[in-house]
C-alpha cells in the first residue's frame, strides 16, 4: 500500500465531498438534527440525574446494578405503598417496587412482577428514557426475552403539560445521532464516493494511475473515517457531560465505523450510479438506524427482529458505554459487531470481484 496515494485520494475526496450537495447533506444531517433538537427542546441540555424512587426489600441485583449507573440517582422509599407518593414528592422520573424474591424468581423463570410508577409530569422523552432504561437493565439480568412482568402505573394522570428539561432525551438522542452519523457514512458517503468514480468514469483514470484498487478503497474509507471522526467528535464534545466511559465510547464508535465502511464498500461495489445510491440509501439507513430509535412498547417479535440488525449491538454498546456501564454484555455486543464487520468486508470483497474491479 502506497500511503502517499491513499492520502492523495482522501485529500481529493474530502475537498470534493464538500462540493457535492448529496454528500454535504448526508454529512450535515446529524449535526442539523442535533441543533434542531437543541433549539426546539432547550431543556435537553440539562444533565440532571434520572431520579428513581425504589422499594427493594430483597436487595435485588437489579437495583444494585442500577445504583452503578452514573446517570441514575436511586432514592429509597420506606415502603411499597409510599413509593408513588415519594415519586411525586421528590419529583422523580418514576418509582420501582421490587418483590422480595425477585432474583430467585427471575432465575427460576417465574417472571416476577415489577411495579413501575411513571411520573407523567416529566417530559415524554424522559419517560421514554426511563422505560427504555428499565427494559435494558432487566433484560441484562438474564438472557431470556421477558425475565419479568412490567406493570406500568401512571403517577398524576391529569398532568398534561410536559415540563421541559431533564435527562432522558439526550440519553436516547446522542446514540441516535451517532448511529445516524455512522449510518450516513455507510449508506451514503462511502457508496457515493465509489459510485461517482464509476459513474463519471474517473475510476478508469484512477486504475490507470499508480493507485491500486485497494488503495482507492482505502482512500475512500479514510474519507469516511475522517468525516465520522469530525462529526461524531463534535457530537461527543458538545455532549461530553453525558459520556460515562470515553475510551469505551471511542472504541465502540471505531468498531461501528469499521462495520459501516464495509457496508459502504459493499453498496458502492454493487451500485452503478448516484440515483441508485439515493434510492437504496434511505432503506439501508432506516435499517441501520432502526435499533437506535426510542422503541418502547414494541411487539416482542419486532424487538427480536432488531437483534438481527448489526447496529442493534452497536446501539446497545453505545448506550452502555455512554452510561459507563461496563459489564460483560458490552463486550459481547462489541464481539458481535466485529463479527458482523468481518462478514460485511467479505461481502464487499465478493461484490468487488463480482464486478470485475479486482
Amino acid at each position: 500500500m502506497n500511503l502517499g496515494v491513499i492520502a492523495a485520494i482522501t485529500r481529493k475526496d474530502v475537498i470534493d465531498a464538500i462540493r457535492n450537495r448529496y454528500l454535504l447533506t448526508a454529512l450535515m444531517t446529524p449535526l442539523f438534527v442535533a441543533i434542531l433538537f437543541r433549539v426546539l427542546l432547550p431543556g435537553i441540555n440539562k444533565s440532571d440525574l434520572l431520579k428513581v424512587v425504589v422499594h427493594d426489600s430483597g436487595n435485588s441485583t437489579l437495583i444494585s446494578e442500577m445504583r452503578k449507573v452514573p446517570q441514575i440517582g436511586i432514592v429509597d422509599a420506606g415502603s411499597a405503598e409510599a413509593t408513588e407518593s415519594e415519586v411525586q414528592k421528590r419529583n422523580a422520573i418514576g418509582g420501582l417496587v421490587v418483590p422480595v424474591n425477585f432474583d430467585s424468581d427471575v432465575a427460576a423463570g417465574k417472571q416476577p412482577e415489577l411495579k413501575i410508577y411513571v411520573n407523567n409530569k416529566k417530559s415524554v422523552f424522559e419517560q421514554m428514557g426511563f422505560r427504555r432504561l428499565l427494559d435494558q437493565q432487566v433484560r441484562a439480568l438474564v438472557k431470556t426475552p421477558e425475565p419479568a412482568r412490567f406493570t406500568w402505573i401512571d403517577v398524576d394522570k391529569e398532568a398534561s403539560k410536559q415540563s421541559p428539561g431533564g435527562l432522558g432525551l439526550e440519553q436516547m438522542l446522542l446514540p441516535l445521532l451517532l448511529i445516524m452519523t455512522l449510518g450516513m457514512i455507510g449508506a451514503m458517503v462511502v457508496p457515493l464516493l465509489l459510485v461517482e468514480e464509476k459513474e463519471k468514469r474517473t475510476l478508469d483514470f484512477l486504475l490507470a494511475s499508480p493507485a491500486s484498487l485497494k488503495e482507492i478503497i482505502a482512500g475512500k474509507a479514510l474519507t469516511g473515517v475522517g468525516y465520522t471522526v469530525l462529526i461524531a467528535g463534535l457530537l461527543l464534545v458538545v455532549n461530553r457531560q453525558l459520556i460515562g466511559n470515553w475510551p469505551l465510547v471511542v472504541l465502540t464508535i471505531l468498531l461501528g465505523l469499521v462495520f459501516v465502511v464495509a457496508v459502504g464498500v459493499f453498496m458502492g461495489s454493487l451500485l452503478n450510479n448516484t440515483m441508485q445510491v439515493n434510492t437504496w440509501a434511505g432503506t439501508v439507513l432506516i435499517v441501520l438506524m432502526a435499533p437506535s430509535f426510542p422503541s418502547l412498547g414494541l411487539p416482542a417479535a419486532l424487538d427480536t427482529a432488531m437483534r438481527f440488525v448489526p447496529t442493534y449491538y452497536l446501539t446497545e454498546a453505545l448506550k452502555m458505554s455512554l452510561a459507563g456501564n461496563v459489564t460483560s454484555t458490552i463486550w459481547r455486543h462489541l464481539g458481535v459487531l466485529v463479527a458482523c464487520s468481518l462478514i460485511a468486508f467479505v461481502a464487499a470483497v465478493w461484490a468487488l470481484r463480482r464486478r470485475q474491479l479486482v
Binding site: 502517499g4 496515494v5 492520502a7 492523495a8 485520494i9 485529500r11 481529493k12 475537498i15 470534493d16 462540493r19 457535492n20 463519471k200 468514469r201 474517473t202 478508469d204 483514470f205 484512477l206 486504475l207 490507470a208 494511475s209 499508480p210 493507485a211 491500486s212 470485475q356
Partner: protein, 282 residues
C-alpha cells in the same frame, strides 16, 4: 526497440470473447493506430495494456513491463487518455492536475508547465464544469502528460470535437511523437489515422485483420485505377487491370483531351470496409 509487445492476448467477459488472440509490436517513438468499429475490442485492449484489466490469456509487455505481473511498475511509465472526458468536474483544472501530481508523486511545478503546453494556463482556476469540450479534452491530455510518460494511450482523442480543436489535438500528438513519446491511438477518423500514424492495425470482432502502414494498406487493398478528368469536365475511371488501359490512356493524352489524371487511391475507410466487411462507424 519495441515499446509494446503483444503476444496472443485475449480477454473474455462472461464467456464472450472481446479480444481474440491478438499479436503485434509497437516501436518506441511510433504513432500506432488501432482502428476498429464500436465493440471491436479497442478499449479492452487499451485497458489490458495499461494495467487496468487482466487478460484472460496471452501476454504483453509495455515499456518493458509485464502487464500481468508488473502493473505497479508499468503505470508511472504510461499515460492514458480515456475515450470519456473523465475529469473531476467540481474541481478546477489546476485541482485536477494537482490530484494527478500527488498520485504520481510528481512536483507541483509540473502543473503550470503542462497547462501551458495545452494552452489552459489562463483558465486553470476555473471550474472544469464550465470548460468547453475542447478544453476538457486538452486537460485530460495534460493530465496524462504530467508525469512525462514513455507511452501514451489515446482512446478516441478527437471524438466530438470541432475541426479546429481536433487539429490542435493532432498537432499536440505529433509534437509528442517528435519528443520521442510512443503513441497508441484509437480513432474512428480514418483521415486522422492516415495523417498521424506510422502504422495501423484494423481490429474487427476482437481480431486484428490487417496491420501495415496506411500507404501499404491502400496500395494493397485499394482500387487499381486511374481517374481522368477530361477538358469537357467528364470524369473517367480506367481500371489498370484492363489489358487495353494503356492504349486508352495514350489515346486520350495524344488527343489532348486530358485536363487532370491521378491514381484512384482507396481511402483507409474503403480498405477497412473491404477487409472487415463492415463500415468503421457501425
Amino acid at each position: 526497440m519495441n515499446a509494446i509487445e503483444v503476444e496472443q492476448l485475449s480477454r473474455s467477459f462472461n464467456g464472450l470473447q472481446a479480444v481474440k488472440s491478438i499479436s503485434f509490436t509497437v516501436e518506441a517513438g511510433e504513432i500506432f493506430g488501432f482502428l476498429g468499429h464500436n465493440g471491436a475490442g479497442k478499449t479492452t485492449t487499451i485497458r489490458m495494456l495499461s494495467g487496468q484489466l487482466l487478460p484472460t490469456s496471452g501476454s504483453a509487455r509495455v515499456a518493458g513491463c509485464d502487464v500481468i505481473t508488473e502493473q505497479q511498475k508499468l503505470k508511472p511509465l504510461i499515460g492514458v487518455v480515456s475515450e470519456h472526458q473523465n475529469l473531476y468536474e467540481r474541481m478546477s483544472g489546476r485541482e485536477n492536475l494537482e490530484f494527478a501530481v500527488r498520485l504520481y508523486g510528481q512536483s507541483l511545478s509540473r502543473i503550470d508547465e503542462t497547462l501551458e503546453q495545452v494552452a489552459l494556463l489562463d483558465r486553470a482556476k476555473d471550474n472544469v464544469r464550465g470548460y468547453s469540450n475542447g478544453m476538457k479534452q486538452r486537460l485530460v491530455i495534460a493530465r496524462a502528460l504530467l508525469h512525462r510518460p514513455q507511452i501514451i494511450f489515446l482512446d478516441e482523442p478527437t471524438r466530438g470535437l470541432d475541426p479546429v480543436v481536433g487539429r490542435e489535438i493532432r498537432q499536440l500528438i505529433l509534437g509528442l511523437a517528435q519528443q520521442g513519446v510512443t503513441i497508441f491511438l484509437t480513432t474512428h477518423y480514418m483521415e486522422e489515422a492516415d495523417q498521424l500514424c506510422g502504422r495501423v492495425a484494423f481490429l474487427s470482432e476482437g481480431r486484428i485483420v490487417a496491420l501495415d502502414t496506411p500507404n501499404n494498406l491502400k496500395v494493397a487493398h485499394g482500387e487499381k485505377a486511374v481517374k481522368v478528368t477530361l477538358n469537357d469536365g467528364q470524369s473517367l475511371s480506367i481500371a489498370l487491370t484492363d489489358p487495353d488501359a494503356g492504349q486508352q490512356l495514350e489515346k486520350l493524352i495524344n488527343d489532348g483531351q486530358v485536363r487532370t489524371m491521378h491514381s484512384a487511391e482507396a481511402t483507409l475507410e474503403q480498405v477497412f470496409l473491404q477487409i472487415a466487411g463492415r463500415e468503421l462507424s457501425e
